[in-house]
């Protein structure tokens, strides 16, 4: 640190200096040489993420509808002010929050339960763990189709068939309870993810601690609440935040299951954006929604990264 500080100082003083390579310029060249191998990656990342994003911001200031030639006009913050009064956007944000919150909450609880089970000595643990991860490995589109057609279809689905004795044989689950259906499918997908992360936390626990607690007279519930839970808490936080980053962007299963409907009951932000961009072809308006969505996601991501780093700090302290 100190050397760098001094070299900056020296280079500032010696700017007028002749061609003779000063220590400062050598140091500077060294740092650039060291950065050089990173440059292609850096350029690539800027090309594929920042330029589209900058263009998106640019387009969001224009009233551009593909179906209306000549509509490419600068309108300032018009697209954004319209978003403020747009009921669809409010519904979209609300649906995104409801979907994300319920999916994460339910899958964390289920993931914790399953992880605790897999952490104890049960028969066929390896096989069970593999099976439990399976939903996370199935492509979201394929998974949603399986749910919609083979499990929930009111005419020939498995669930209505199993529920026939209870008089629920011909219930159209997807349309009667659209949000619950999407939440169920997403929980099915995300529980394995939570389970894996929490399991990693549980396995880092020193069994002697639990033994000691047992000797001290703590029952299983107390030991879990007072010792295990505080230990895995950062893992749960990490899982929840990483998970919400992805669940906020849920698109595939909504597209396949409900197409955002009925009405706007399951239209979340990404799906609203899709509708505005590809049904309405309002590129300006869709760009504004995109920018808002990116800002919202960035806020969530900031929390996620902070938690991630706090875990590393804890690890480092050990």
């Amino acid at each position: 640190m100190k050397t760098t500080g001094r070299s900056i100082l020296r280079s500032a003083v010696g700017t007028g200096g002749g061609r003779e390579p000063t220590a400062a310029s050598v140091a500077r060249r060294d740092t650039w040489l060291r950065r050089l191998p990173l440059l292609p990656a850096f350029v690539y990342v800027v090309l594929v993420t920042q330029i589209p994003f900058a263009l998106t911001i640019y387009y969001s200031f224009f009233s551009w509808n593909l179906l209306k030639p000549g509509s490419f006009q600068f309108t300032g913050l018009d697209n954004y002010t319209r978003l403020l009064t747009d009921e669809s956007l409010r519904t979209g944000v609300l649906n995104t929050v409801v979907l994300t919150f319920s999916v994460i909450a339910i899958s964390v609880v289920l993931g914790l339960a399953i992880a605790s089970m897999l952490n104890s000595e049960v028969f066929g643990k390896g096989l069970m763990r593999t099976l439990m991860i399976a939903p996370f490995l199935i492509m979201p589109t394929a998974g949603a189709l399986i749910w919609k057609d083979t499990l929930l279809n009111p005419l020939f689905g498995l669930l209505p068939y199993l529920l026939t004795p209870f008089g629920l044989g011909r219930v159209d689950w997807v349309n009667r309870f659209p949000m619950a259906t999407v939440v169920a499918v997403e929980v099915w997908r995300w529980t394995p993810f939570m389970m894996l992360i929490i399991l990693a936390g549980l396995q880092s626990q020193n069994p002697e601690l639990l033994e000691a607690a047992h000797v001290d007279g703590a029952n299983a519930l107390q030991a879990f609440r007072r010792i295990t839970l505080p230990l895995v808490r950062p893992f749960i936080e990490l899982g929840a935040l990483l998970g919400s980053l992805f669940v906020v962007q849920t698109f595939d299963s909504i597209y396949m299951l409900t197409y955002g409907g009925p009405g706007e009951d399951t239209t979340n932000l990404p799906f609203l954006l899709y509708l505005v961009a590809f049904q309405g072809f309002s590129i300006g308006q869709a760009s504004a929604i995109g920018v808002v969505a990116v800002i919202l996601t960035t806020i969530v991501a900031t929390f996620a990264l902070r938690t991630l780093f706090s875990i590393f700090h804890v690890e480092a302290r050990r």
Binding site: N175, G261, G263, Y274
Partner: protein, 437 residues
Amino acid sequence: MAILGLFIAVVGAACSGGAGGGGGGGGTTTITLGAVDNPQMADLKKLVPDFENAHSNIKVNIVTLPEDQIRQQVTQDVATQSGRFDLFTIGTYEVPLWGKLGWLQDLSSYIAKDSSYAPDDLIPGIKTALTYNNDLYAVPFYGESSMLMYRKDLLSAAGVTMPDHPTWDQVAAAARKVNSATVNGICLRGLPGWGEQLAPLDTVVNTFGGRWFDQNWNAQLTTPQWHDAVTFYVNLLKSAGEPGAGNAGFTECLNAYNSGKVAMWYDATVGASNFTGTAAQNSGYAFAPTKVKDWSGWLWAWTLAMGSASKKKDAAWTFADWATSKDYIKLVGSKLGWAHVPPGTRTSTYGLPEYQQAAGAFAQVTLDSISHADVTHATVDPVPYIGIQYVDITEFQQLGDQVSQEFAKVIAGNETVDQALQKAQSLAQAVGKNYQH
């Protein structure tokens, strides 16, 4: 990431102007056709070698995609004038709209050059729908109207006879009479989407006397006619329709009808050519049911159109000419079988004895329905727009999708008809404002 991904796609499409196409070298021209994925297009793909043999200097590259995707891709391509597709399949909805925007090549001069093309042989209803400013901007490859298909055996077992021109009240009564624990009375589309649920529902609204807009572009969805029509449709679905109506589109209804789970089906005329087994042997066909207005069948055609930005117009027309000619119909019939002939485009098709034999009972109903479907006079009261099962304005794709989503909510039982119509009214009113000056 998905959000950004979408935008890369949009931006990419917007920036790729002129990059598409890619001509063939050495005297041969390669044209690209963006086509909707349907059986008739699959047949066209099979017959492309026949075309290429006859025209050694033209190569044809056909890109087929499902309906919603081809619509998005072609719209992006044409709107940004990138010229990726030289020819594309678009529907009757797009042709006049895009013709007006200057996105399509006026085909009348090309048609005039070919003395054997016989444009007067095109079925009148279809020809009107593809005309803008008295010129044809697309040529029809496939055409359809809507009709009522019913199982004669199931209806007669319930003591019902279906007239050739039924009213909706007769159809509803018949559906309720036939409806039982194992067989539902009628299949009607409930799947949201302007091209799905809204197509049959719009024809019901038309014949009940409803309209989307009055002459001054004021939305008319809270009128009693709309209320009655939507209530009728939803009640018919609930009392005698298929279960899970909210997910039922053309394919789902076809499967239900083919497997004998529904006794009647009101849908596209092309449905009948997909019947198998008992459904094929025992089906009767009636014209689209009516209430106030006669001839309430819809009109749809998949057409071949040429972008005004195409750089290979002559080669593209040569192919479009071939694929929509009388000779192509005969080629399909002799090579792939007469049941494969693309229906609903030329009057002469229905005069071919081989086709009459293959298409049988529904050929005449199809021809008459298409001939009588008039996109310029679809409603009881006058309207400022054209279109039967759609309103021919750019905003309608989104408006129609949103409105049909509200109706899906009604079908699912999560909203009342009046609530849905109230929302639909405000959506339509916002669109109508764009046309009020």
